[in-house]
């Protein structure tokens, strides 16, 4: 792939003059943080997107990959993070779906099983051909996905963050399988942010950052430091003006939180930390290391498998969102479109969802004062600079930045004792980002305990008074003076290459 540039219609430059070469028969790791452009690059290779500029050459020939079918015909197969499997069908059925061995319209079931078993044997990917997908573990499901691509004649396999959902044992199995595939002449491209794993399995590694390729090296030559530096170093350092924090007592206490998902994946392995009033406690980390689950558990949207959460000495573990909010917790969610706002509802309606049931908005327990709602909304719109002509405007008409301001207006105006902010500046413009940062500091200075979870390293480093790093469901480091750190150092922890001995 040469000179690949991809610019999305909203102006985001996902790939910037990328040169990427993969040699036949190698395992090539493509690493980078979230948003580095690696997934986009592979989408271009698989035909899910078209490059704005640049060309792709396969075995010396220039090719145009207009859609996944073309990619498959060219021998490129992709295993996505979200599996595309039919739960009620068996392994064999899923593998042959769309290309079934048939006799005049009737499925040849024995042949399907035979094909599956042959493929499995040939590539060392152990699967139970007759088992239903919804009864087999995640590791096997992934092997089914791989076999699907092999059945369609894939020579080049792209694996997108394959170890995200696997247990350590399953990860080992996967690596063995990948090695077997390569021995059989396949080429594998491995997208990941887990450097340790890349070093274990890849031959060469390409590092991407901010849409550019930072370099390609053989794994043997790459030290952890070099890799981290390439992945994480930034040219412009974000500086936020903030007065020194005045830390008080611990307000939010999290102890030994564990969470195991339905598929058996252990997302949280015993997370403990405290957030004090008047401080911003940041959690840095690449997305997918348990942060989403952590935030949802803290805010009552998910039930923990074990552990406790306390808010000013009130136990709030596994309580309803309302109870948690009443105890003094606010939550800026990571996906505002999903649950931060209700698009068809007005700004005013969106703002009062956490307080509509009490005076002054509700009198006598059953009469809602719409006048009060309107007034509060207008005041908040003024205070938070929400650009809209009227509080009755439906939120779906607002820009991303304005929508986030609605969320902030709501969550910050409650004078919370603790604020959990997850990816607060995702997808919003510079102006709104700066505004959000200022508000976070402001609420901190009013005595709130702020937990900031962000995959944006510069943001979390600039804002945090204390900084923790999360990797694979654990807190692997806590720093009391983040100002003295470099991004590369933090990067090492984020990528699982280093961890502190004793984490407090």
């Amino acid at each position: 792939m040469r000179g690949i540039t991809k610019v999305y219609p909203n102006g985001v430059v996902a790939n910037d003059r990328v040169d990427f070469t993969v040699q036949a028969g190698e395992i090539h790791g493509l690493v980078g943080e979230n948003g580095a452009g690696k997934t986009t690059l592979m989408k271009l290779l698989y035909g899910l997107e078209q490059p704005t500029e640049g060309e792709i050459r396969l075995r010396g020939q220039a090719v145009q990959i207009r859609n996944p079918h073309v990619a498959i015909d060219l021998g490129i197969g992709m295993v996505h993070q979200n599996f595309m499997l039919v739960p009620e069908f068996t392994v064999a059925e899923n593998i042959v779906l769309g290309l079934e061995p048939q006799q005049r319209g009737f499925i040849d079931r024995e042949k399907s099983v035979e094909i599956t078993q042959d493929l499995a044997r040939q590539y060392g990917l152990q699967v139970s051909a007759a088992a239903r997908i919804d009864t087999i573990p995640v590791g096997m499901r992934q092997r089914v996905e791989i076999l699907k691509t092999l059945y369609r004649g894939a020579e080049i396999l792209i694996l997108d963050e394959p170890t995200a959902v696997l247990t350590p044992q399953e990860t080992m199995d996967l690596f063995a399988a990948v090695k077997t595939l390569v021995r059989q002449g396949k080429t594998v491209i491995f997208i990941s942010h887990k450097l340790r794993e890349m070093k274990a399995v890849a031959d060469r590694v390409t590092v991407m950052r901010d849409g550019r390729v930072m370099g390609t090296l053989p794994v043997a030559e790459a030290t952890e430091e070099t890799l981290a530096q390439m992945m994480v170093g930034r040219k412009v350092l974000l500086r936020v003006e903030k007065p020194p924090a005045r830390r008080g007592n611990p307000v939010l206490q999290v102890h030994d939180l564990k969470y195991v998902s339905e598929t058996g994946h252990q997302a949280l392995r015993g997370v403990s930390f405290n957030v004090h009033s008047g401080e911003i406690f940041g959690i840095a980390g690449v997305e997918g290391n348990g942060q989403t689950e952590l935030v949802e558990i803290l805010t009552g949207l998910r039930i923990a498998t074990a552990g406790t959460v306390t808010l000013t000495d009130k136990a709030v573990t596994n309580r309803t969102p309302r109870t948690v909010r009443q105890a003094g917790m606010s939550h800026v969610p990571e996906d505002r479109l999903r649950n931060g706002v209700a698009l068809p509802a007005s700004i005013a309606e969106n703002i009062v969802v956490d307080r509509y049931f009490a005076p002054p908005f509700t009198k006598y327990g059953w009469w809602m004062e719409t006048g009060e709602v309107k007034k509060t909304a207008e005041d908040l719109m003024e205070e938070f600079d929400i650009r809209a002509p009227d509080s009755e405007v439906p939120v779906r008409a607002l820009s991303g930045g304005n929508m986030q301001k609605v969320v902030l207006a709501r969550e910050l105006s409650r004078s919370p004792k603790a604020l959990v902010a997850a990816q607060p500046t995702r997808g919003i413009d510079i102006g709104a980002t700066e505004f959000a940062h200022r508000e976070l500091v402001r609420i901190r200075d009013r005595g709130a305990a702020v937990l900031l979870v962000s995959a944006d390293l510069s943001e979390v480093m600039a804002l945090s008074d204390r900084l923790a790093v999360m990797h694979s469901g654990e807190i692997v480091a806590v720093f009391d003076r983040p100002r003295q750190l470099t991004e590369e150092e933090v990067g090492l922890y984020m990528l699982g290459l280093k961890r502190q001995e004793r984490v407090h």
């Binding site: 079918h69 595309m84 039919v86 009620e88 769309g98 319209g105 339905e262």
Partner: protein, 319 residues
């Protein structure tokens, strides 16, 4: 009258034969509903489709003096009707339920309207000399004691209906087409990435379900009865959907569920002589469906919770 005699009178061979006859107009649309549900586009307009087919069959057979032409026209009408529903939902993005309700209204009003214009009668088509589908007498089966009158002498469509259960089963689980259909309903994204045209498959599913419902409608006006009455389907299109869910969304289960509804219907009428209000028996299948629905939903929830607990226990053990 001694109880024994009464019971014998009720649970008679005539009743059993009647059950098969009564089940057919439930079973056929139920199989249609099953196919459409498995493809992810549950056909709410089965009721209207049946009604339309019942009507077209009567009219065409009366004017062409051929029952078979009537059947053909009825099935064609059912197919076109379903195509309209499919188009409105799949291409015009209308809500499936509301579009289905609209089509039912269309059929209900349209059939009576045309009947009135043709015969001047708003209630029935008795003016028209419509024909019926043939009755089949199977020589070997006929002579079996007890079962004979049940298995032989039924209308052709009754046999076809039960045969359809097997055919639908083979279609769904042994053909490529059926597998694609089930994939589209279970995980349309997976089907799409496997190269299956989701929209086209759903179109096909709706037309197939319409054809089956249409056949059920033809049975009603050209077998069960010998004329068309306004709204003669009397909710069977919806009972059919209940039968699909009660039968666990599987052809054989659907058949048994349809039989349950049919048996209750047939039995209810007979129970008058025992001074048990027929409504009790009529209610049974519906209550059963709701209970089954609830039980299924509760069981699902329990299963999820159990899985969570098992994982937690394993977790605690390994710590």
């Amino acid at each position: 009258m001694p109880l024994g005699e009464v019971l014998a009178g009720i649970f008679s061979v005539t009743l059993a034969a009647g059950v098969l006859r009564v089940t057919t107009p439930i079973l056929l649309p139920a199989l249609g509903g099953l196919i459409s549900d498995l493809a992810g586009v549950i056909n709410i307009a089965l009721e209207g489709t049946m009604l339309l087919a019942a009507f077209v069959g009567v009219v065409v057979s009366a004017y062409t003096h051929s029952a078979w032409l009537g059947l053909a026209a009825a099935l064609a009408a059912a197919a076109i009707f379903s195509l309209i529903l499919a188009f409105v939902h799949l291409d015009l993005k209308a809500d499936l339920i509301l579009a289905g309700i609209a089509m039912n209204f269309l059929a209900s009003g349209g059939t009576v309207f045309v009947m009135y214009s043709l015969t001047g009668d708003k209630g029935t088509s008795s003016e028209l000399a419509s024909l019926t589908m043939p009755y089949v007498h199977v020589p070997i089966l006929q002579s079996i004691p007890v079962l004979g009158p049940i298995l032989s002498g039924q209308n052709l469509i009754v046999y076809v209906a039960f045969l359809m259960v097997a055919l639908v089963w083979v279609f769904l689980y042994r053909t490529v087409w059926g597998m694609h259909l089930r994939a589209v309903g279970a995980n349309p994204d997976a089907a799409a990435t496997a190269g299956i045209d989701v929209r086209r498959t759903r179109y096909q599913a709706l037309v197939l379900s319409g054809l089956l419902a249409g056949l059920g409608g033809v049975h009603m006006s050209m077998g069960y009865l010998q004329l068309f009455q306004r709204d003669m389907t009397a909710g069977r299109g919806f009972i059919a959907l209940a039968a699909v869910f009660l039968g666990g969304r599987h052809p054989v289960g659907t058949m048994f569920a349809a039989l349950l509804f049919g048996a209750a219907d047939a039995l209810a009428n007979q129970l008058g002589s025992l001074r048990i209000p027929p409504q009790y028996v009529q209610m049974i299948p519906y209550v059963v469906t709701v209970v089954a629905l609830a039980a299924y939903a509760i069981a699902q929830q329990r299963a999820v919770m159990q899985r969570q607990r098992r994982i937690q226990v394993r977790q605690a053990a390994s710590d």
